[in-house]
Symmetry: D2
Subunit: 361 residues, 4 copies
């Protein structure tokens, strides 16, 4: 594709043209030809940039916020968003995805609310917080993915004497952009203080290949906790099968599981895709680029990520943002596990999903 698009307005009486443009502006009109290159680039030209946020920094600042900023009604959550430097100060990791560190001190509670924005939490470390989703207490533990689909009331409480931090992922930027946001407060008091090991939704839906006939089948997953023990076992099995000569991995040394809605087998959330990736030691993935943006968090191990023309060393807990159509490759000597989420369900639904594979430089 060629990329050079420039206005072709030939030389004319510039005064008349200026006059016309003024009349356009007065009529709330704007010519295509003067900015078609910006509006319709040859390939996606994201304002978001490749960016890495270091976990020690994030955690340190979250701890400091834990000292200085209370949690409560109004501010709602002690969550600090990753702000992509390309996005003009907006608190967005990418144009569609929100990523934040949420921090809850010992015995603290975050009050109930609900919103049309879809949310999940991914736990890099720690335990002891329960998130109550529509009154169903869900334990949060290292490696777990916990969902809060749109318009589900939720509240968090820390039942221990130790603080806990995790990553929140939401579609706030997309919902904000298209004006689809609804928000509602719940009761100020905690709905339940129960701390069961297994949530009701897991007891109903967390059995492989078994559908509870008496339960409805919602568009977003009714299973709202994906436990690390299952994720880990699934990734281990893929790499073992590869060693035994059987299919399963997406490419040599690279295992991937997608978190899906057991009632539909589609993505667990309507606007975001969530996956866990595992690289065997010494693995170098293919370099691919896709429409749509994503955020990764290194869950264990370390490696090097190439995003576009940049390379970053990344270690446990580090997060990085991948803009649309940026070539992406991962490599790891010691091996790594990485949680990934993206806006691919949006692109697939709208017929805008494309992926290209390129040769590793």
């Amino acid at each position: 594709m060629t990329s050079a698009l420039s206005p072709s307005v030939s030389a004319r009486d510039q005064a008349e043209l200026d006059q016309l443009y003024k009349r356009f502006a007065a009529a709330h009109m704007s010519p295509l030809w003067t900015h078609i290159g910006d509006l319709m680039p040859a390939i996606p030209r994201p304002e978001a940039v490749p960016m890495v946020w270091r976990w020690p920094t994030l955690l340190g600042l979250a701890e400091r916020a834990g000292v200085l900023v209370p949690v409560g009604r109004g501010g709602e959550r002690r969550a600090i968003a990753l702000a992509n430097p390309g996005l003009a100060g907006a608190p967005y990791a990418t144009p569609t995805l929100w990523a934040a560190v949420q921090y809850l001190g010992p015995r603290e509670k975050a009050p109930a609310h609900r919103h049309s924005q879809t949310a999940f939490r991914f736990v890099i470390d720690g335990e002891g917080v329960w998130t109550n989703v529509e009154g169903d207490p869900v334990a949060m533990r290292r490696g777990d993915l916990l969902l809060t689909p749109g318009m589900h009331f939720h509240e968090h409480h820390n039942t221990t004497d130790r603080a806990m931090a995790w990553v929140d992922g939401l579609d706030i930027p997309l919902v904000r952009q298209i004006d689809a946001g609804f928000f509602e407060f719940g009761p100020d008091e905690l709905g339940t203080q129960a701390t069961p090991a297994s949530s009701r939704n897991e007891r109903l839906w967390g059995h492989p290949g078994l559908t509870p006939v008496g339960a409805p089948t919602p568009k977003a997953s009714p299973l709202m906790a994906y436990r690390w023990e299952h994720t880990d076992a699934a990734l281990t099995a893929q790499l073992d099968l590869e060693l035994e000569g059987h299919p399963g991995v997406v490419e040599p040394g690279h295992a991937v599981v997608r978190f899906t809605n057991p009632a539909t087998a589609r993505d667990c959330l309507t606007t975001m895709r969530c996956e866990m990736h595992r690289l065997r030691p010494g693995t170098r993935t293919a370099v691919t680029r896709s429409t749509g943006s994503s955020v990764y968090q290194i869950f264990a191990g370390s490696g090097v990520v190439r995003i576009g023309d940049e390379r970053f060393e990344v270690g446990t807990g580090d997060l990085f943002a991948v803009p649309s159509w940026a070539p992406l490759g991962l490599m790891s000597e010691p091996g790594l596990d990485a949680f990934r989420y993206s806006d691919e369900p949006v692109f697939e639904a709208l017929g805008l999903a494309h992926t290209e594979r390129e040769e590793m430089a």
Copy 2:
């Protein structure tokens, strides 16, 4: 609905009419008006009848066949079908469903073949047989449901010194009726003698809510073993949730899980629905009637089943056939578990599924 449909041909010159009917026959034609009542009854008028087969009888005859009839190429399987007395001697449990007891003696092998008919095995008791599906060894143990989707090569071998019997379910009658059957022999020698505790398909697909991104998503389930431990846990959870005041059961005291394809969340097989039902002690289900036929096997416990106007006492291992549109109710004092399969996916696909609930007599 009225049911009396009778020919309305008025009295006329009978000789001329007889002549006309002879000419119809000669031209391979047949008038609607003389048998519309048979062809298009007011409500389904199945030839299949409600029927119970007793497990001790089935098992005893299967054991005797084990003595007298070898297993091998040609006869292929030592399987003895339940023949509904209403179906004119055909070896069919219902017009669409095949049910058989299969029996494999110590160290015996059943050779590889494949066919377009969809099959499953349900294990009422015992263990020690492996069924190799497309070369993937799948252990068969009490309470397990094992699938063999259409055109998958499969063979069975008993690795122990004890015989084992189980129930085979297939769509042979439907496929035979619509002329959709293909059959092919595999190698005469066993493909593998491996006896892993977990099959490859389970390792890849048997994790709740986790989809292996590198695997294809077939129309019939890629997960081919549904283990009793999961089924039991899911049923237990539904009844526990009921006691705690939460939704999950299909009606009071009645838990149901459906075995589904984790790649599509639809029925595990394209032509048959498989479910496990559990009745809490003292439960009496609603009486319902549905288009389509089904077969049940009591897996544990005992009870009374009403089918149409008949009632049968049923105990562990007993099988019964439910014709289309026959009112069905279950009740159990001690509680029971029952495996069920039906042709509902066919009726749903064709827009012919209907269910009615009636008051218990």
Copy 3:
């Protein structure tokens, strides 16, 4: 595929075996190994045979029935079914499809009823009958396809002084076999005698690419009349486009349109596929075989059809039945139009659809 399947029961004490088989019979059981070859053939082995019915014969007998047999409540319709000689006297064209000539004399009426069986009418010649579907009068004219989806009340009346005959297609055999039939009488008196040129369903749904937002979207087509002028224009366009060098035909000289549900874009009926085929003069189609059976009626022109190993000359109005998996080819020197219907939606829904193309002998 190999086809030789024979029981492999070795020579043993025959008396004991006979005794066992008697006990099987007494217990309503039937061994697989003695008839697996019949139950599970290597390829479909239809009992239905390739068969042609000649239109002049059909029409002549229908006219004679018009003289001798009244139309009215009870017999319901003066319809005479095509009975495939392979199907043991059943009034079925194939194991799933019903085909009949229906004949309505001058000013005659056929009373209202409804049933779960799906029906259509295809008009080879004539006009002047209106079929009222749920009270909506639908004119029947040469070349038109008129639908009566399941459980829609319908009645016919001839408003002219001339008799009219057409072909009825239904899924009676399939529905009978799986026990899915419901039937209900409507009022004895004609619901309406209106004879509008265009039915209400056509006025609402008969505009290309335009969906009435205020109307529901049913599983079977809400458009119940497909007019010859549209069908003819669509076929003409495909052949013209071919001459101009553009895509559109299914193979050289062979145009096909499928009658589809404008609310879903799927087959117009849930259990039957309806199509119109046109062969340009001098065209010879590929020879293909597919699972599932079909019925054709030559609408115009003439040709030669090969079904399996047989060849038949066919002319306007002739009908023929194509059994499952029988190789089928059409050729025509003068060109022809043929209406076709099949049970393919059933096979596709159940994952049993296969097609093979073979070289022309």
Copy 4:
């Protein structure tokens, strides 16, 4: 829903807090609690405002541009976008929808290009321009809707001595926001100068309920011209049926047809919904509000539109933008026809579609 969301950070040492916020900024982080009210409003709070653009003004400025600005490679199209005053100068009618007047002088040509953005043209008046879509010449005439799905090459040429203007609708803002845009130039020379009355896509796909079996079934409509004669007939039929006492209209006096993909029966375009509305004289619609934004053009007649708290008199050719969740009502004494397009497919695909009906003020 309550709307007051304000930060609840209690009074503390402000200096420490300021220091923390500086550290956040340095680390590219941003706290949720200081702007949750903006990010997650109680109900959608669009920046776009209700706005009407008058057709005479638009046309006049387009004509002036026709004098001053040439059409050609680089600027590509003489299209002037409607710029919603709420959107900070962006040339967007709403946050997701582009609307522009395109003007092509006598004998002018606009060169071929293609892009991932989806486009359509709606013709308020005139004729004589052909748009060639992938080499298929499509006549543009009053009342027609013409599609250009994503990545289809297209070019326009005016074959007459009179200028022509029409409305272009695209998803440029959405595609720009999520970085999904690809753009490619085609040949500089016109691909074809043919001017057939009917395009090839219409000849293949423009027959009600008839699917060409030999053609592929794309995600966006393969039928790319929806002709006014069909649209008008469909609207007329709905209102006539209403007068006759039959269903069809969406509410009293209000007929609506949606332009749909005949290969899927879904919206004609993947990201935009297109409809034509007709109000009988004296009709007042219900007032509804929906998530998602839309643009209307009055095609004939006149009336009053209420958007939020504002009312506007609108006449033929006038366009107006409706922001997300703004209450909308139409009323017309003389009756009117209005073309409408919206981003509803996006909201439906993502599970974000909601509609409320309110009482007319």
